[in-house]
């Protein structure tokens, strides 16, 4: 930190102004977002000798502050870095500091105090209420500039440690807190496409960057493990021109323990655990794996869910087995399931009164995914069913498997109708025109999870990631209460 005698600030026209020119004297630190600063400056406006306003503002804003408060004494501006406020350890504005000829502090007044200011300046001031008022936080207390004047958030962008949004800098302390005593050198594998090694330390750095709290970390670790399972083929997903990203579905008690949102707004935004866990995985892919959009990630369009996509199943609103149990894990365990998927397409159905009609609406919505004449889809579509839709199925005694089969059976078109102007599959081209082609080649391609708030009949389907041989992968979360 610079000694006070060496600090050079700006005047309101942007010219340089050594602070020492105002020694001895009274330095009044203030900024324009603080009502107490405005009050104090108006009360001090007529003082002419031995006082200077040291505004925590850029020159133009410092000039506006002077005009608003009608101060007639000199005004100095502190650019980014707030060197003078830091040198005098200003935490509150207004603060008046009387310094001697070498800039040493003789007396300080914090906030507005009529009597204290009269003594400090050895002059009388107009006596108006309030005669005392507490101050506000100095900009040193909440700006993002460290002591060296380097904006740490901008520094993260310059390093490229971002997904395009501001991140939390991964300081050694934060990363160690995220690790929680785990072995930082433990390797979860190599992340395509550059095959950077996902040590726990690097994964923790990504979790910090993403804004995770340490209690989310076991879910992040499980998600990275699942993503690196060769069956998931992250290699293909990370570099494809397709828009698909990696969707995390979380099941089990860990959801409620860390506050994952399963209800209203289940697909986001608004909920830190969902957003930061999904973001941490994407940062591992983009940074540790080098799959950064526009570079090795060659997605033509991408989609907003590639920033973060973490769904927690609303098991409490579901009469069916949760996804992880359906996939073989014990009830009571916690797990993540990774699905390679496109952006969600919302499906409104507020009128169906039979499960058959609802299944048809849900199923036919998937025609819009991938490509409309490309039948059948030979990989997974992820359905997120809202509780009201689930209630209708359940009221008619339908289990999840029956829903899946009903969707599969409902959506068929004759091959002749699919040989239209658009692209289609070899199967369609080879089939007799009257052959009914299903939307999916197998009912097992239809994944079903339950999420969302209690009101509203909006479900969603997440389109597939074709051609990647990307299997759905479930991993248990190593977690304890």
């Amino acid at each position: 930190m610079a000694p006070a005698e060496e600090i050079v600030l700006s005047n309101i026209t942007g010219g340089s102004a050594p602070l020492s020119e105002f020694f001895p004297g009274v330095l009044v630190f203030a900024h324009s977002d603080c009502p107490t600063s405005l009050l104090a400056l108006r009360r001090l406006a007529g003082v002419s000798n031995g006082i200077v306003l040291v505004a925590e503002e850029e020159p133009a804003a410092a000039a506006r502050l002077a005009r608003r408060t009608r101060v007639e004494f000199p005004v100095l501006s502190q650019a980014a870095g707030l060197a003078a406020s830091r040198a005098f350890e200003i935490e509150t504005v207004p603060t008046a500091v009387r310094v001697d000829a070498r800039g040493r502090v003789e007396e300080t007044v914090v906030g507005w105090d009529h009597g204290a200011y009269e003594r400090l300046l050895d002059t009388s001031l107009p006596r108006e209420e309030p005669v005392w008022k507490p101050g506000c936080a100095s900009r040193t207390m909440h700006d993002w500039t460290d002591a060296e004047g380097l904006d740490v958030i901008e520094d993260m962008f310059e390093r490229g440690w971002t997904d395009g949004l501001p991140v939390v800098p991964p300081t050694r302390e934060r990363v160690e807190t995220m690790l929680g005593g785990r072995d930082p050198t433990r390797s979860l594998g190599h992340v395509p496409p550059t095959l950077g090694e996902a040590t726990l330390e690097r994964v923790a750095a990504c979790a910090v960057l993403a804004g995770c709290r340490p209690e989310y970390f076991p879910v992040v670790v499980a998600a990275v493990e699942a993503a690196l399972d060769p069956a998931f083929n992250l290699n293909g997903q990370a570099v494809t021109t397709q828009p698909a990203g990696q969707v995390i579905v979380v099941n089990g008690p860990v959801r409620n323990a860390i506050g994952l949102n399963t209800e209203m707004g289940a697909l986001g935004p608004g909920f830190r655990p969902n957003l930061t866990i999904g973001r941490a995985l994407r940062l591992v892919v983009a940074l540790t794996g080098g799959g950064y959009p526009g570079r090795l990630d060659r997605a033509t369009l991408g989609h907003p869910g590639k920033l973060s996509f973490c769904i927690a199943e609303n098991e409490e609103a579901s009469p069916w087995e949760p996804l992880h149990v359906e996939r073989g894990l014990p009830r009571g365990s916690s797990a993540v399931t990774l699905v390679a998927a496109d952006a969600p397409l919302s499906i409104s159905d507020h009128r169906s009164r039979t499960p058959e009609h609802l299944a048809a609406t849900l199923g036919w919505a998937a025609v819009a995914s991938w490509s409309p004449f490309w039948w059948p889809l030979d990989t997974h579509s992820l359905y997120v069913l809202c509780p009201e839709h689930v209630d209708l199925f359940h009221a008619h005694g339908w289990e999840k498997e029956r829903v899946r089969l009903a969707l599969y059976e409902a959506v068929r078109r004759p091959a002749g109708e699919l040989r239209g102007p658009g692209e289609t599959t070899a199967r369609v081209l080879a089939a007799p025109p009257e052959e009914e082609i299903p939307r999916w080649d197998d009912p097992a391609r239809i994944l079903v999870v339950v999420a969302g708030g209690p009101a509203g009949r909006f479900s969603a389907v997440l389109g597939p990631c074709l051609g990647m041989d990307a299997e759905v992968v479930t991993k248990e979360v190593e977690w304890s209460t």
Binding site: D146, V152, W161, P169, P170, T171, R172, V175, T194, L195, G196, E197, E201, R202, A204, A205, C206, V208, L209, N233, N235, G236, T240, L283, V284, L287, T288, G290, G467, M468, D469, A470
Partner: protein, 90 residues
Amino acid sequence: MEYVSPIDTSTRPPEAPNARPPEIAGRRVWLLDIAKNRSAEFLDRLEQLLSGEGAKVRRARKPTFSKPAPEEVIEKIVLHGDLAVEALAD
């Protein structure tokens, strides 16, 4: 401020390909089909042109375009080839 990098800086930098030979007559040229739709059509034409220049053309194929070529495919090309062309189409 000390930060923990999310990036593995030990990642090996990409290697530059060998210089293009002055002529291809008599050279063993592998054409690697990455299994994209219609890759074969493109490579058929390439094979025709290369053969016309006197190259000894051989073909290899990846099982899927979305995964790296299996080691045995890479090894075959490295051990028994002078040049390789990896091609896609769609």
